[in-house]
């Protein structure tokens, strides 16, 4: 861990630095899913598109495995954020009264 690691941004959406990631690995978290839940890296508006590769590379380097073996998180819908208003309006137009 070099002194500048807290200046290296890994997750731009949630401001998670390389120092945070390395601390997480040092604490014994060893998968992307765990690191995501402890640091929030990958939970922001871009859903990990920018940071998941960098974190996977850190894990691969730390545990001496190849990237093929790093267990990746899946992607959940939606691909791009969409407003509750647009969703509510869509429901309004096809309202399914059975649930009322």
């Amino acid at each position: 861990m070099t002194s500048k690691d807290n200046e290296i941004m890994i997750c731009r959406c949630e401001d998670v630095t390389k120092a945070d990631i390395l601390q997480c690995i040092a604490d014994g978290y060893h998968t992307l899913d765990e690191i995501k839940r402890v640091t929030r890296a990958g939970m922001g508006p871009c859903q990990g598109r920018t940071c998941r590769q960098l974190i996977a590379a850190e894990l691969a380097k730390h545990y001496g495995v190849s990237m093929e073996d790093v267990l990746m998180t899946t992607f959940r819908p939606p691909v791009k954020p969409i407003s509750l208003g647009a969703l509510a309006d869509a429901y309004e137009t096809r309202k399914d009264w059975s649930l009322e």
């Binding site: 290296i8 920018t50 869509a90």
Partner: protein, 541 residues
Amino acid sequence: MKTVEILVIGGGPAGLCAALSASALGAKVLIAERDEMPGGQLVKQTHKFFGSEKQHAGERGIHIGQMLLENAQAEPNIELWTSSCVLSIYEDGVVTIEHAGQHVKVKPERIIIATGAAEKFLGFPGNDLPGIYGAGAVQTLMNVDGVKPAQRVLMVGAGNIGLIVSYQLKQAGVEVEAVIEGSSKIGGYLVHASKIQRAGIPVLIKHTILEAYGDGQVEGAVIAQIDECWQPIAGTERKIACDTICLAVGLSPLTELAWQAGCEVAFIRELSGHVPIVNECLESTVPGIYCAGDVSGIEEASAAMVEGRLAGLCAAVSLSYGGAAAQTLIDDAKQELDELRAGSMGIHIREGLEKMALKSGQPKSEDDTLKSKSFAEIKSTLISDGIATADDIAAILPTPERFAKGPIAIAECFQEIPCNPCVKACKAGAITMPGDINDVPVVNGALCNGCGLCISLCPGLAIVVVDQTYSEDMAIVRLPYEYVPLPVVGTLATGLDREGNALGQFEVKKVTSGGKKNMTYTISLVVPKALAMDVRGVSVV
């Protein structure tokens, strides 16, 4: 709820071609493109494309994009939604799209995911400062919005994107301090590296960025040489003053929808990241969902277009369109892909696809001709900086006798890349490639009359014509030129060597346009005979 036979997600090169080939067989296609302007990468690729003329080689990306879009708009079987981002593929086969601000549901019978890729991010101190962009962002600002992205740029990465965007920055009047590359050789096509070296942009291999600095935005970067294990070598640190840092360190496929749909996705280094596993027909592990273009492995846009076409054909055939004729079209597309990937630049792609085939349970053994093919190994330092050495030149130098007969074309194209527009450009049939489009072009001095047509048609701007018979002690060098302002006939312009060094002021004899669409000019400079094989660039600025 809207039903459609084939939903193409992404209106870039792969998506447009998929829609065109599927609709041509009769299938009804809906394209959902998240941007206002379809064309994906094509809308910002102002350079000429490689490949063969089947993939519109020699034409500029932006024109290919316009042509594909016009064809798609003219095709009644294709419905095109722009500013429409596909949000999710759900378990019940329903796809949701944000279209015209609404949450629209579509039920397709087949899906072709052609969502392309995005720039990889890089970790170094200060890497989130304003002024640090993915190279694609700079291209968008420059070539789509017409905004000058920077004053002085440091380009990180010497793959095709890093080299091409540096060239386009120069065209837009932006200074590029340097292109740095971590590996020991240039990743992109060497002709692109030669173009920017001639323009005075150094390409530094075995270099990396240590940090970016600046108060509130980029003011500079610190770079350093690195050893084989990519560790910086103490003492080689150097500050580069720049207001912009461009990251061109590779693309990552945008595979979110494939993950959501439950397609198997695996990391394949040669295809540069996690890619959905597809079979020969580009069908993923989820029946009815196909993946084409950069989303299933990063290659050139030409390969993306052919993959799109292939996926469109296979999807249409699976809906029983096209009949027997379609099979030949499918085979043609597969053959074109093999051809595009047959060269030395395609080795890592083929290795990646072999791994893909293994994972998709269809191990395809590469045909032995391809495996045994030996490639013209570039031994000289050309591979590490894009500057042809004396030996490289000597190998293609015309004989004094031929020089004495009159002007002759010289193709400084030493790398086996999939590209053959020069062969088609030469009316005299003087330029040939023994094998396939990946071979290095050979100029037959006997047939070549030095007409120079090939100069403005070579996508790599690698061909010049030298006429040693111009006068007693002067020769004419005819060079490709794609900058502003244009040199003026009768005035003097600076002649540059292959490293961008000024060799002197030389008279501009002739300025000929390559044509409205071609847009590459040919500039004739009168130079001393002794410099005729050194002057390779011209600048008026």
